[in-house]
């Protein structure tokens, strides 16, 4: 058994929603570029460690997020954060050897996939399946929350007044996409 493989092909990354696009009624649906994602589990005492590795402090308030460059860090639970590197550079590598003793970093780059929902009527489309109040007062730019769309779980993240990022598990993305298409048509 050789250390280097004789076959030099490199596997291709194929996202579940590759090639899809939909727009109607002032809303567009676009699969997000395949980025990298980490779940960070860090309790209060590990926040300093997380800051050292990330280069910025974790958000501390529920339903909020912090952005630095291409890296978005979403508060998901008291000790749970979803870090998304939208351009897909080596985020997991940074944490690979992170001291497990202090915090846990789990690569979920491929577990989730994301759909960008944008346009002035985006809220109406999302509210077809999401029971949360998505008005700017209740769900301002930067707000992030684990919630549902129809029968699927999603993490909803508002990136601007008229743009949301819908993160869902890979195998749910077909349902989430079709639900959003149906919702957009119905707005």
């Amino acid at each position: 058994m050789s250390k280097s493989a004789s076959n030099t092909m490199t596997a291709m990354r194929v996202g579940p929603l590759d090639g899809l696009l939909f727009a109607s009624n002032g809303i567009s649906l676009t699969p997000a570029p395949s980025g990298t994602r980490l779940v960070i589990r860090a309790r209060a005492e590990a926040q300093a460690e997380a800051k050292k590795l990330l280069g910025f402090a974790l958000p501390t308030k529920p339903k909020t997020s912090i952005i630095k460059g291409d890296v978005h860090c979403l508060w998901i639970g008291p000790d749970e954060f979803l870090v998304i590197d939208v351009d897909g550079s080596g985020l997991p590598a940074k944490f690979e050897k992170a001291g497990n003793g202090k915090l846990a970093a789990i690569d979920v780059s491929h577990r989730n996939t994301a759909i960008i929902v944008s346009g002035p009527n985006a809220v109406d489309a999302l509210n077809s399946g999401c029971p949360q109040d998505l008005s700017l007062e209740a769900f301002p730019v930067g707000a992030a929350s684990r919630t549902i769309l129809g029968k699927a779980e999603m993490i909803l993240y508002r990136t601007s007044e008229a743009e949301f990022r819908v993160e869902c598990w890979r195998s749910f993305s077909d349902y989430v996409w079709k639900y959003l298409v149906d919702a957009v048509k119905s707005v």
């Binding site: 493989a5 004789s6 596997a11 579940p16 109607s24 789990i106 690569d107 029971p131 109040d133």
Partner: protein, 998 residues
Amino acid sequence: MTITTPNTGTNRVARKGRLSPSKTVTFTFDGKQLNAMHGDTLASALIANGIHLAGRSFKYHRPRGILGSGAEEPNALMDIARDKIRTQPNVRATTQEVFDGLIAKTQNYYPSITFDVGGINNVLAPFFSAGFYYKTFMWPKQAWKKLYEPVIREAAGLGHAPKEADPDRYANRFAHCDVMIVGGGAAGLMAAKTAAKAGKKVIICDENPEFGGWLLAEGEASIDGIPAAEWAAKTVADLVAMANVKLLSRTTAFGYYAQNMVTLAERITDHLALPDADAPRERLWQVRAKNVILATGAIERHLVFADNDRPGIMLSSAARMYLNHYGVAVGQNVGVYTACDSAWHAALELQEAGVKVVAIIDMRSNPDEQLIARAKALGIPVRTGSAVTKTSGKLRVKSMTVEPIGDHLTEKFEIDALIMSGGWTPSVHLFSQSRGKLKFDEPNGRFIPDIHVEQCVSIGSCNGTNEIDAALAEAISASNAVTGKKAGKAPKTMGFASMEGHLIGSAKGAGPDDHVMAFIDYQNDVCAKDVRLAVREGMHSIEHVKRYTTTGMATDQGKMSNMHGLAIAAEALGKEIPAVGLTTFRSPYTPVTFGTIVNHAKGDLFDVTRRTPMHGWAEDQGAVFEDVGNWKRAWYFPKAGEDMHAAVSRECKTTREVAGIFDASTLGKIEVVGPDAVKFMELMYTNPWEKLKVGMCRYGIMCREDGFVYDDGVVGRLAEDRFHVTTTTGGAPRVLIMMEDYLQTEFPDWKVSLTSTSEQWAVIGVQGPKAREIISSLVEDIDLSADAMPHMAIREGKICGVPTRLMRVSFTGELGFEINVPADYGQSVWEAIWDIGSPMGMVPYGTEAMHVMRAEKGFIIVGQDTDGTVTPYDAAVGWAVGKKKTDFVGIRGLKRPDLIAEGRRQLVGLRTKNSKVVLEEGAQIVVDPNQPIPMKMIGFVTSSYWSETLGHSIAMALVENGFNLKGETLYVPMPNETIAVEVCDPIFYDKEGARLNV
């Protein structure tokens, strides 16, 4: 050249109504083409065309007319269609707007509405008393299923649902607001304006196409110096211009649930001739409101007298609405029968509009002097202290017979319409649904809201406030209570009609006879006598009376009938009305289509369908899929001409001889990380984990507290403090939930976290003697040799240039690997392996072959070979319970006396004496097949397959004392034969594991 406008009906009244004759539509009614004005309801269009006969009644098939002008309509339920598929029964003609091409049909008759065979029920009415079905169809019991039920079902019900799938789309919307206002009449609009001006987020809905409520029925009344209907339109225009207000017309608030959740059904296309193909037909709104203002108005009651259901007999409020809004006269010789001032105003307006009012009959001996004077000035005969005791006319009312209440002198009037009013019933349906408590307002004979349970308030006539100025003031203060401000001033009003006077219960001539047909509930065909009969037969609770007589049930929800039914029951019982009580109002207020309730969740969106990254490849290969939870899994891969049996046999055989490739991506995966990870694993699984070396895997069993097997799976230790845990496909969510439950509630201070990685990894199983050879050229940084990577090892490295967690594990008993790669690479890596393996003879295999091969090895499947009452010991995996462990979930449970007692069912193998016979899974097992029935069953078959590899059938079973019965013969009695089986070890193939360790 003259332009002729289509004739929209002979009963149109000049200079009355708000519809424009310049815009007309054409529709068909029972096959006949008719014209209407744009904005007409089907009911107003029919009455304009002189048609009152609108259907046959539910039980007695009596000809029925149009009674009301809105959602309260109990009679005029029709089948409405726009094409062959888009058809809906039981639509109220009073709420259906006409459009070009609408097809309306009346219901519940054969062969025609004017001659109906079912009318025999009317003649036989004395036999169809209340509780008829309960009494008549009691015996014989068997006849229910074969005779009574099918016949009754066929005869019962109104209309027919279309059999085709509904082609329309439906939508859903969740919404939040500061104030949800239900009802867009005077009070609702006033409240909306006040709250909106203060900056509150307002949603206001109304079931009608136009806001305004009963203001639209007003002829002369004005608000703020302009006609009432104009004030409504102006207020709506103001609200539309405000960004913080959402107005929903054609939208019925039909349900009120906990914590101010109000559900609305918005009808979007039912009034359009050519709706946009993409537009949803209806939308469900689920509104969470900080405050709810109920301005649901009131519904006029009819009067209960003999034959009060002939076509042409209707509510006075409806007559006013038809006259003042639609410009339609309900007849040319109109009789008026009332106990309330409202009908007087209708009469005066009709007479002023040129319709002849034959007489006003008022039950009250001293109605308002001014009204009498006005009627007399217009030349209308008036009879006070009198009652209508009889009517005539088969398909349309022809006459009314009038008697003074205390006398028997009769007087007969020829009429073609009779309008009536028994006063107004506040619409407290939603208030009642919100669990609000009502109180009885004795002087006015009505129930009104008393204690509000939710954050809501009732205003206007639904609160018993009928007087317009008071209602508007109430609206303003309700909104001010929400906004905390003191804003708004009630506008000046003029010319509103009084709504004083009422009667609940039966009038003269509606009893106490047993045969008079004096209807209290038109929709369910319930008469005053039925309620009395129910009381006589022992129904003393209003809830029992309701069910015995069916009054106030079904789609009608007692909008007009409740108070009459209650008053008659109270009288018969000799009790006060509050002591008898009111029945509960149920959601929905008016019928809601299933489409609206289901909305997006149909077709592909009925439920989530989960597919693996390699699904498309399997599909291309012609795989047959099976549903496992929400997943689609490749079941088997038939080649041309192969059935399932042949395909599975080939897949098993080839995998054992060469290699097979299997998609195991659906396995649940949980990453357990942290300094306390191993401590946590020790707790959750029965196995010991402390000594598991990094880079090695172990088969783990998880129990519940009661000691029964909950899940199983292979767990790999990636680092001292990091485990890659796998679960069964179906068990993934519940295992994570159970783990989180213990972690969060019992051991919150433990430093360990759980993250689902089920979907992070695509899992490619490569199994068989050639497995290593097939993958080796693709793998980097991992030594795959038997010495370096023995069975149950896990390594991290690369395959096809991407990261992998490579496990050497086997669920087939062959040399095998499970290759975990990040999911988006799954398909690409799979294809690379396939390109190498396929020329060597590797086949893809599905879940069925996987099941067969694992059974040949005696590996259990949790949920198939266990059923929630099986311990690890019972399942013959007791070796996986750490003997020296002092704690794990289930350790106490496993010591329960009944779990250690003799005679428990234990997992064994079975071989049929005739090796070709494959047992049925679930079949019962007995010791002596000749014992009398019922036999004592000592176990059952859990897994059973044909093994091509072994050339005989194999089975696993849970059998009492099974471990001690090896070699014994037992029997499986089946309907046509009794199958003899021998108890054996459940490991049928390669007991020594020689094939694994290569």
